[in-house]
Amino acid sequence: MGGNSPCASCKLLRRRCAKDCIFAPYFPSDDPHKFAIVHKVFGASNVSKTLQELPLQQRADAVSSLVYEANARIRDPVYGCVGAISYLQNQVSQLQMQLAVAQAEIVCIQMQQDPIMVAANPQMVLGQADDDDQAFLLQNQCFNFANNNSSSSAYVNIHESLKKESIFGDIVS
């Protein structure tokens, strides 16, 4: 036993803290709350099984992510981390739209400042476009924007043109 104080897990579980206790490296006795929340959400035996199945060098990261998830679930018992994922995905979508609008605005400015030069050298101002189709779409959206002066319709069209398929789109319904 060596007289060492038990780790937070063994203190909470009221058991002897063995020398090779699987929890001890990750749940020190000075932070009882950390294990308490993980135990509340996942259960000590599930955490133990998870850690046992992982190589040593990955266990610290696994504990950190379990603590993160447990905290999220306690703060939001209905949605947990999924609530955070939805929120972040929404933020990504909004930023992508804002960026598309800003990039289209630059194209418009360039065309207004020197349309002849831009027409002669489209690759210079549309250089950020990934391909010719995207460059063409940007150019057309700018004409629509300038002619209609309807920012909402151009905004939607630009978004559709530049929308990238979200790799997480089908994960959260």
Binding site: K40, V41, F42, G43, S45, N46, T50, E53, L54, Q58, D61, A62, S64, S65, L66, Y68, E69, R73, P77, V78, Y79, G80, C81, V82, G83, A84, I85, L88, Q89, Q91, V92, L95, Q96, Q98, L99, A102, Q103, E105, I106, I109, Q110, Q113, D114, M117, A120, N121, Q123, M124, V125, G127, Q128, F168, I171, V172
Partner: protein, 137 residues
């Protein structure tokens, strides 16, 4: 009249009472749902969590538990936290790009003459757009 045991009680090999807390959310035709959730959270933890929630929120809770359990089974080290990190990085990159683009817009609005003459001088120069971007860094 007896509709049979829910997926949870079947898995736990016990009688499924009429007021079983699991049965509305774990129908017998989808056993995998309970298996995944039980593997990560444990049946008693899930039961305690559901008991603390009003009944109209329990379906969403079980759905989110199932999703998180799937992430954790697929990635035992990071679970869904890996996705959260990725999204946060994506947001950071997009915010940086947006700031740069907005700075360029502001610059062009303030110095149309400078941009125009520079454009004329850089006709055919493919690296011009890179140079322009560097003005705002």
């Amino acid at each position: 009249m007896n509709p049979g045991r829910c997926a949870a009680c079947r898995y736990l090999r016990r009688r499924c009472p009429p007021d079983c807390i699991f049965s509305p959310y774990f129908p017998p035709n989808n056993p995998q749902r309970f298996v995944s959730i039980h593997r990560i959270y444990g049946a008693s933890n899930v039961a305690k969590l559901l008991q603390q929630l009003p009944s109209h929120l329990r379906t969403q809770a079980v759905d989110s538990l199932y999703l998180e359990a799937q992430y954790r089974i697929e990635d035992p080290v990071y679970g869904c936290v890996g996705l959260i990190s990725l999204l946060q990085q994506q947001i950071h990159d997009l915010e940086r790009q947006l700031a740069m683009t907005q700075a360029e817009i502001a610059f062009r609005a303030r110095h149309p003459q400078a941009v125009e003459s520079s454009l004329l001088n850089n006709v055919g120069n493919p690296s011009f757009s890179n140079q322009a971007s560097s003005w705002f860094m």
